[in-house]
């Protein structure tokens, strides 16, 4: 059994105009020593999906179906107290724009010790010693535990976010768009740090991003999301070498690179569908170059093909 198993998860937002299927029947798993990348455009439901793993779903959003099994227990049926213990110790999350997720009126040391004190019975000195150690783990001098968030640059704040998340030795780490909004050099430094941490702490990670290169540099497994569904799941190398779903393929081709010869520009026509009235059949068919008649009528099921999962009528 894998460390985390998400089965047929459905999260709908109930609005005045009808249900928005933000996450529609997705399944994936993360095992120990695995790094899963969840990639998709904005609004495809990737953040909603991991919020459910942390039990953050709030009205008008509701989990209408599915299971999230973490270490053999279903997170969705846990009591509030069990969820509190799970967060931070079992699964920890670094939020998108951690720069703004920090409390501006607390020193970073206080913010780390706060997490430690929530979960463990330790005295003050020990908590602070751990806080300093956490900062050093992410490459910040321990003496800066007394600094406030505004005294750090964007990349360093993101590091502090990771220090807080890993303070109680979680068994699974979720990073939501960790490098979005950071400069390339800072971005690279942060990815190096994440790779180091993963090896040092043997920490399985779920990466949420819209950036293919981030996934390429960190993840072993990738799930491509489009309009609330996972359209392809494969290991990173085979996805990049030979993407099966037309969306994955176009996404990779649309990504410019500065290495190697300058290739042709590719753009995907149109825009992602609104999820209130998604198209009939495959959600991608209005933008798909290989759309067939069947794509406009029925939704493709997830099929296994050369060790990967893909939801497309091209594969039977």
């Amino acid at each position: 059994m894998a460390l985390l198993e998400v089965e047929n998860l459905k999260i709908y937002y109930f609005t005045g105009k009808g249900a928005v299927k933000a996450v529609d029947d997705i399944s994936f798993s993360v095992d120990k020593d695995e790094t899963l990348g969840l990639i998709g455009e904005s609004g495809c439901g990737k953040t909603t999906a991991v919020f459910a793993i942390m039990r953050f779903a709030a009205p008008p959003g509701r989990i209408v179906g599915g299971k999230i099994i973490f270490e053999g227990r279903d997170i969705l049926t846990m009591s509030a107290e069990q969820v509190r213990l799970l967060r931070g110790q079992g699964i920890a999350m670094v939020f998108q724009a951690a720069q703004n997720a920090l409390n501006p009126v607390m020193t970073v040391g206080q913010q780390i010790t706060e997490v430690i004190n929530q979960h463990e019975q330790v005295n003050k000195e020990e908590a602070w010693a751990r806080a300093r150690k956490q900062l050093e783990l992410v490459g910040i001098s321990g003496d800066r535990a007394k600094s406030y968030p505004h005294e750090f640059s964007g990349g360093m704040k993101q590091r502090v976010g990771i220090a807080i998340a890993t303070a109680c030795n979680p068994r699974l780490l979720i990073l939501d768009e960790p490098v979005t909004g950071l400069d390339v050099i800072v971005q690279r430094q942060l990815l190096n740090l994440v790779n180091d941490l993963r090896e040092k702490l043997r920490l399985p990670i779920i990466f949420i991003t819209h950036d293919l290169s981030v996934i390429a540099e960190t993840c072993s497994k990738v799930a491509v999301m489009y309009a609330g569904k996972i359209v392809e799941q494969a290991d990173a190398v085979s996805l990049y070498e030979n993407p099966a779903h037309p969306y994955s393929k176009l996404l990779i081709e649309a990504y410019p690179s500065i290495k190697g010869e300058k290739g042709e520009l590719v753009s995907i026509p149109g825009a992602p569908p609104g999820l209130l009235n998604p198209p009939v059949g495959c959600y991608f068919h209005p933008r798909c170059p290989s759309a067939m008649d069947i794509c406009r009528k029925t939704e493709p099921p997830m099929v296994k093909k050369d060790g990967r999962l893909v939801a497309c009528h091209l594969y039977k």
């Binding site: 455009e41 904005s42 640059s153 964007g154 990349g155 360093m156 400069d183 390339v184 050099i185 800072v186 971005q187 690279r188 430094q189 990815l191 190096n192 819209h210 950036d211 293919l212 290169s213 981030v214 996934i215 390429a216 540099e217 993840c219 990173a236 190398v237 990049y240 070498e241 176009l250 996404l251 990779i252 649309a254 990504y255 410019p256 690179s257 500065i258 290495k259 300058k262 520009l265 590719v266 753009s267 995907i268 026509p269 825009a271 992602p272």
Partner: protein, 331 residues
């Protein structure tokens, strides 16, 4: 570069005054400045696309805005078709604006949410009094919308920005300047807030405008990879200075300045089989840049820095055809 430069920027400086301490500001004459743009010179030829690449805080947006005089320069000259626009009065400048336009970063924030697409474009036409009568106005709007790929125009005509996707909104942003037939456009991170799948569409649109109308473009970005696809030349900025400027492929294949090398090495590669390179750079952008105003801006982070780098602020020198570098080691 064409000999006929459309835009010439000479020793442009934009400083912002900082107030450190109210008491000290009152009682002492000492004034501190942040040098957002510090002594920058370059040309843009007709139909040229120049990329300005740098990290946040390097002054690239300030420079873009200063060129259009949305921010007043502290010193230096900006020539547009040999007219020094820094000396123009407000009224005269307003006439020039038709020819010099800007595309903003945030397509959600830069369109008036209470105007329909057609009215947003109509406003541009009316401000510059380009049309005689409503019919001509409507015809112009229709052409512009179709030119930027919002086809059929009727479908988008009466829509409000909130009903458009990010890519479509950015196309409206392009359409409202295209209708003015500008000759110079400053595009400030036009795609950084768009989804990956629609980014290239907007880049293609900008390239198409250059091909069809000969519009010169200053493309401001932090992303070397997209700059590669559209720019003829790229200038790399660091803390208010251009540290290297060269034709695009030259710069990417043979970068000279250590900062340019670091930026290129750090550029993400969308391929899991490629090994990540070591980063030839130390630490972070200094939080107090005034410490490096008299030296090479980059020396505290440069792995090759020595005594000479601390003592002088290197000028741009030519190291190859149209390839200029500001580094002591470039001689």
């Amino acid at each position: 570069m064409n000999d006929q430069a459309l835009l010439k920027v000479e020793n442009l400086k934009t400083y912002f005054r900082v107030r450190k301490n109210i008491i000290r500001t009152i009682f002492s004459r000492e004034v501190e400045y942040v040098r957002a743009v510090d002594d920058v010179s370059f040309n843009v030829g007709e139909g040229d696309i120049l990329g300005i690449v740098g990290e946040s805080g390097c002054g690239k947006s300030t420079m873009g805005r200063t060129i259009l005089r949305l921010i007043e320069p502290t010193a230096g000259k900006i020539y547009y078709e040999d007219i020094d626009i820094t000396s123009l009065k407000k009224k005269e400048m307003r006439k020039m604006r038709r020819k010099m336009q800007m595309i903003f970063q945030d397509p959600h924030g830069s369109l008036n949410p209470r105007r329909t697409v057609a009215d947003i474009l109509r406003q541009s036409v009316r401000i510059h009094r380009l049309a005689d009568g409503k019919e001509e106005e409507n015809a112009m709007i229709k052409t512009a919308l179709e030119e930027v790929g919002l086809k059929p125009a009727e479908e988008f005509w009466g829509r409000y920005p909130i009903l458009l996707s990010g890519g479509q909104r950015q196309r409206v942003g392009v359409g409202r300047i295209l209708i003015l037939q500008p000759k110079l456009v400053v595009a400030d991170e036009p795609i950084s807030m768009l989804d990956v799948s629609v980014r290239m569409g907007v880049i293609e649109l900008l390239a198409h405008l250059r091909e069809k109308f000969g519009i010169s473009l200053i493309y401001i970005t932090h992303d070397l990879a997209t700059a590669r696809y559209i720019c003829d030349r790229i200038a790399i900025m660091y803390l208010g200075k251009i540290v290297e400027i060269a034709p695009t492929e030259d710069l990417l294949k043979k970068p000279f300045h250590p900062y340019a090398k670091a930026l290129i090495a750090a550029a993400p590669v969308p391929d899991p089989r490629v090994e990540m390179e070591e980063l030839p750079i130390i630490g972070y952008v200094p939080l107090i840049p005034s410490d490096v105003y008299t030296s090479c801006r980059f020396y505290p982070r440069c792995p090759y820095a020595d005594k000479e780098c601390r003592e002088q602020d290197p000028p741009l020198v030519e190291v190859g055809p149209a390839h200029y570098v500001a580094c002591v080691k470039a001689k």
